[in-house]
Subunit: 358 residues, 2 copies
DNA sequence: TAATCAGGTCACTAGGTCAA
DNA sequence: TTGACCTAGTGACCTGATTA
């Protein structure tokens, strides 16, 4: 293992809970219990575990048993790698997950929203908000994207200037959406058909939206390799437009993540169309798309209200809708064959992956 | 070493998992871990390693630990040579396995008998014949299939009666064809296009043909679990037809293997059509399909002549053609969606695998 | 004598187990 | 569900035989 050497330098202390550690587990120095814990829970959708205390529980040797949600979040944030979990005993594992799902699904009722104070976020909504951002950050997409940019910049000129090296990064931007949707609350409550429809209709816009966030957060255009790569791939005009979109992108990252999710749950990316009636017939999920949208938009509105006051919220909400509409219009123009081929393949894969295991 | 030169041209990338390689190991460019893996497992009977996920696991640096069965299969399919393993090890484990294997699979071909008769098989043809049968037996498909049947029978009733448990076995019957073609003489001399065309057109018939052989040799229908599984999967009528086909199947196993190969090299499974001219244009291989077919049919004919005399050979050859034609007609009816889905996936994989590495 | 490629070695870490 | 303990498989590194 490459990491063997690193383990020599590290103290034998669990990075997660501070207990005594005996070695690296899933790429992080952890104790036996955190290792087992991660193995058991990392592949479950994160919303199976809900924190009851505000998503910032301290995790120590003594308290690690108190909140699984925060423990798992800490595992991920320290870089424990779920890809190293092998899928051996398929049947038992999957069966158990399925059971868990059925048991837990009715349990967290996120719908008691408009209870007492209709203008502020309920505890449940705070949790939802927190979950969404954590799911997005789960695999550290920003760090990963930075790494890829560094990697590209370090390639020999021949390889660096290949379209593929840029396309790989863009593909990663888009693929992040899949792992986001995989674990985000509500998505798996939709029917398979609904999921498929959403992925097929919204992936292009969603991926672009997400790309804009990641490009901004990683300052991707400061890497000349990426900058020139994009100009070759998409043309100068499109790059300019991308930069304009980035300038106009909402500054608050948390907000962008919520908006990503709302966009994901929008019918054909047309959240302004209020006519859900016709398409509702095709949705057979128990928790309907419409309902989910309502929950999310309520949460967003309250959050905006809380952050910026009524007028600021209204303004922000308005510009969010404007932004998405502009994005849809722009992405509809399909700048590059290579790009749309890549996205098409990705959409296929995502569809397969997110409409399968149930 | 003769192979040293080859290693100069090859990139230092493991052919099995894509990890960094440092040289040739067992005649293939592999990493350290795949080398060690092959040394440890190649001499075991293959049924010691069971794939849990359909015998087509992807093997990468990250996933190579997930499925030993598929990893080993990939090692063999890329030509890693178990004969280069010297068993100096004191490890009695390996010794025992080796003995078992030698007992089970008498290696010296029993065919080097009658040589100097001009109207019968030449030395080269005897070797070819011997090669074909040994390639077929290479991974002990019959033993493996028996093992899978035993395994199914030993499952708890709930799992045993699942369609999947039967489909897994049938899938194995079909998948054997891939490893057969992978190593059989002449196949890799064809152009990639020719290979692709053959796989796409002939796999359904070939797989069925092979299934019939394996079902007979393993007495699969004597396992009630398999018997009922098939009736559920394909219906009573189709099972009855399968049994009829098995009754009519050529008794001589060696003959069936040759016929399998001839079928594999037939254009769209139509060996009776003598009009190769039109399709020849698409075949760009140096050794043409037509030529290969000629060699194989000559060999078959001589072998039949040698075994059964002229009249017997004629009769047998005729019934072989009849048999394949009936098979084609029957398999064209697509008994079950699950089945054809499974085969389609398999054909995809086989195509990818057999048209890639050259 | 260096390069290559066999086998050997053992720290490491995955999954499994079972009592609590 | 947890976590202490176990075991088997893995792979980075080593050794030695063979060869050009
Ligand atoms: Zn710990
Ligand atoms: Zn918590
Ligand atoms: Zn490898
Ligand atoms: Zn496998």
């Amino acid at each position: 293992m490459v990491l063997t050497k690193r383990s020599w330098h590290l103290p034998l202390i669990c990075q997660i809970c501070g207990d005594k550690a005996r070695g690296m587990n899933f790429e992080v120095m952890t104790c036996m219990s955190c290792k087992a814990f991660f193995r058991r829970h990392a592949l479950q959708p994160i919303y199976f575990l809900q924190c009851q205390h505000g998503n910032n529980c301290e995790i120590t040797q003594l308290t690690r048993g108190n909140c699984s949600a925060c423990r798992l979040r800490k595992c991920f944030s320290f870089g424990m790698n779920p890809k190293l979990i092998r899928y051996k005993s398929k049947n038992h594992h999957h069966h158990r997950l399925l059971k868990n799902k059925n048991q837990r699904l009715p349990k967290p009722p996120p719908l008691n929203l408009l209870e007492n104070d209709s203008s502020t976020l309920t505890n449940i909504e705070w949790n939802l908000l927190s979950n969404i951002t954590h799911v997005y950050d789960r695999e550290n997409p920003i760090e990963h994207a930075k790494y890829m940019l560094e990697h590209q910049a370090s390639l020999p000129p021949k390889l660096r200037s290949k379209a593929k090296s840029t396309l790989d990064i863009v593909e990663y931007y888009y693929s992040t959406i899949q792992s986001f949707l995989e674990r985000v609350p509500y998505f798996h409550d939709l029917s398979i058909d609904a999921r498929r429809a959403l992925i097929q209709h919204n992936s292009f816009t969603l991926g672009t939206y997400n790309s804009l966030l990641l490009i901004r957060e990683t300052n991707a255009f400061d890497y000349s390799s990426y900058n020139f790569g994009c100009q070759n791939l998409y043309g100068y005009e499109n790059c300019l437009m991308t930069k304009k979109f980035i300038t106009a992108l909402e500054q608050n990252r948390t907000l962008v993540k919520i908006m990503l999710l709302i966009t994901a749950f929008s019918e054909n990316c047309s959240i302004v169309s209020l006519d859900y009636s016709q398409s509702m017939t095709t949705m057979t999920s128990t928790i309907s798309l419409f309902h989910t949208q309502n929950i999310l938009v309520s949460m967003l509105w309250k959050y905006l209200n809380y952050q910026y006051g009524f007028l600021g919220a209204a303004k922000c909400f308005h510009s969010f809708i404007q932004y998405v509409l502009n994005l849809i219009r722009w992405t509809a123009r399909n700048p590059s064959t290579q790009h749309s081929d890549m996205v098409d393949t990705l959409i296929e894969n995502t569809t397969r992956s997110l409409t399968m295991h149930d």
